[in-house]
Symmetry: C2
Subunit: 441 residues, 2 copies
Amino acid sequence: MQHALRLGVAGLGTVGASLVRLVQRHGNELAVRSGRAVVIQAVSARSRGRDRGVDLSAMRWEDDPVALARAEDIDVFVELMGGAEGSALASVNAALDAGKHVVTANKALLAAHGGALARKAEAMGVSLNFEAAAAGGIPIIKTLREALAGNTISRVYGILNGTCNYILTRMEREGLSFDACLAEAQRLGYAEADPTFDIDGHDTAHKLALMTAIAFGSEIDAEAIYVEGIRSITSADIEAADELGYRIKLLGVATRSDSGIEQRVHPTMVPKSSPIARIDGVTNAVAVEADFVGRLVLQGPGAGGDATASAVMSDIADLARGDLIGTFGRPATALAPYRRATMPRHEGGYYIRLSVYDRPGAFAAIAGRMAEQGISLESIVQRRRAPRSDAPEHPVPLEPQPVVLVTYDTAEAQVKAALANVTADGHIAEQPQVIRIEPLA
Amino acid sequence: MQHALRLGVAGLGTVGASLVRLVQRHGNELAVRSGRAVVIQAVSARSRGRDRGVDLSAMRWEDDPVALARAEDIDVFVELMGGAEGSALASVNAALDAGKHVVTANKALLAAHGGALARKAEAMGVSLNFEAAAAGGIPIIKTLREALAGNTISRVYGILNGTCNYILTRMEREGLSFDACLAEAQRLGYAEADPTFDIDGHDTAHKLALMTAIAFGSEIDAEAIYVEGIRSITSADIEAADELGYRIKLLGVATRSDSGIEQRVHPTMVPKSSPIARIDGVTNAVAVEADFVGRLVLQGPGAGGDATASAVMSDIADLARGDLIGTFGRPATALAPYRRATMPRHEGGYYIRLSVYDRPGAFAAIAGRMAEQGISLESIVQRRRAPRSDAPEHPVPLEPQPVVLVTYDTAEAQVKAALANVTADGHIAEQPQVIRIEPLA
């Protein structure tokens, strides 16, 4: 049997503590599986004194993660600190420079520096693995990188942020407002005190960028992602979606066509019959469409200490077995430059909710503006608000009325142009709400 | 770059032809990914002349698969012939004896001889891989064997046979009989002319046996599986399930507890809210419950030439990269003996449909027989058949009436004993229908 694979773990938050517990509980089994024991040799974290509920007595303590990353007695540097820069970047660079394998759960780091780090790992002949950085416990990186090696992938999409999915699920089930559901998510620990990163779609975008690079064999480019969060979703949208046969999900979507790659993160109308529509609460799910396999859908926990530690261990077990694979499933030098689709366009229809002043001719004007741009309407739902009981029998409503339009497939530019004109015409009281409809089987 | 990985492919049915097409279409990409080209060096099949819609001109033809398995110029023997014995067994043995890696999609072969073949592969220092043998294009073998290496798995279950799921889905949606749906499945090519192997659960059992061995690290034992097919399911059961909040699926279920392993294949009532209940048509799905990851669900195509070829290619890509892993995720010599649960018992309730002669005291007698065995009833549904219009106003029905009982968690032995007594009492007109309820989140 080879000598034990010695880990240096930097970061002892929820995931780090779970990883310590996992190695302590299943170390013997791991040795049987791979023929090589796995031990945590040393750890590093900000506060040495804090009780993390795990026994660290057998592990050396390093105050400086960079020193840990370079330590003679470790084979694998496990980075669980987080953050795109600072200690995480410095220590991962130090580990690679010292010829150590790196396993990380840090999506922000990889979204910003993944290409450079992968090239450095390759030059040093070591691995940089990150199963835990996208969709938590779901083995989507291994699936894209290894299981689908014989496929050309055309689309990857998924629910990649449990906070957003929890909020949207609650809004739908309880009829509550966005703000109420966000507060509830914060109370339950599903959302941060500053929820910006999750609810504005950035977390989803980082994960999507990683999956895109593997799925399409291209350089990572998180900057190229169109990102829109869920703050603007109202109960009215949720209700209208339900009536129209859809549910609203925050999706990350990456597609490849002849013209290039398109990556986008936005609230999306998905048909109720699609598997992705049925993913509730904090659960994540990823779907992959490819030429030979057809469609796969993987669902599971997208976050949480134990589930994330499971994914970290998947990468470590591969190293223990001696399976060294390129970070993005191929040599870093063989990644194609990121080629943004020349005509980035969402392929599908649009849901548009307008708040229309109910004046003679208003609706005709709106319909005319749509027609000017060649937009065909699949459905129009105008539900007049109930008049107040003290109102005259045939009132001219004073309040603007909600009107929901659903378009057939059209280009985003047309929708924007038409709505700019509608707004300029003065017939609507608020910014139009626009939600893309994703055609999913 | 290393010399190309040279395949010898035995069997050119649907899967074999798809694999030829896949290698021809994606060969260059595979070389980029793994640093090693993959070529099909030679093929073997029963009929040389048959047009399979693929160009075989660059490949040597071997009439004898055993000769192909031993050929000097191949590195990997790909067995796609099928069958537990005969040519498949002889050629796989020959390939391993000659020190060739083997990739196979043959579940029957592995269910019968997987342990011995894995030991032989290990002794020869080669791999025996079988991603395509369980759940077609779904990467469940890789997930269990590699991605969940850091977990103790407690339960694996799934819809593993598309034919059965298609039939059950049609029965539910169209209200058709089992026989009508089977005929439809045969017409569409989803069921064989002799459908026994699929609808009686044996195909599911073979796949379950493979997953069990990996999930629990035990010797394969297909003989230990309790197997019951879907022939007995009637429209009345489908309707009653719907009313009770369930759907009926043919599940393969393997669980591990302190007392050992339990494997069973049977029609199962699954709560409508569970992900597995929502898998329709020929799609397959597998769920895994484990201590760190919680629950994963993978869904995708369980059959079909292209999807199966995708899974075969996953194994080949691992070999091209040089990743040699034990057949069942650990050394064959480290597999524990199969330990059957000492008290094999389904953990959950039972659905029982009886055809009861509507005589005074009949129902009391049945309820008494249940109580005698300590069985508590969660619900009782008796729906009297509508009397014929020419019947007197308060008729004593001549026909037996359907009664559906749902029990709380109880042991199978108790249910059997109670129903034996009920039958002996002469109050029921037919064999009782019993369907297990699987507690799923």
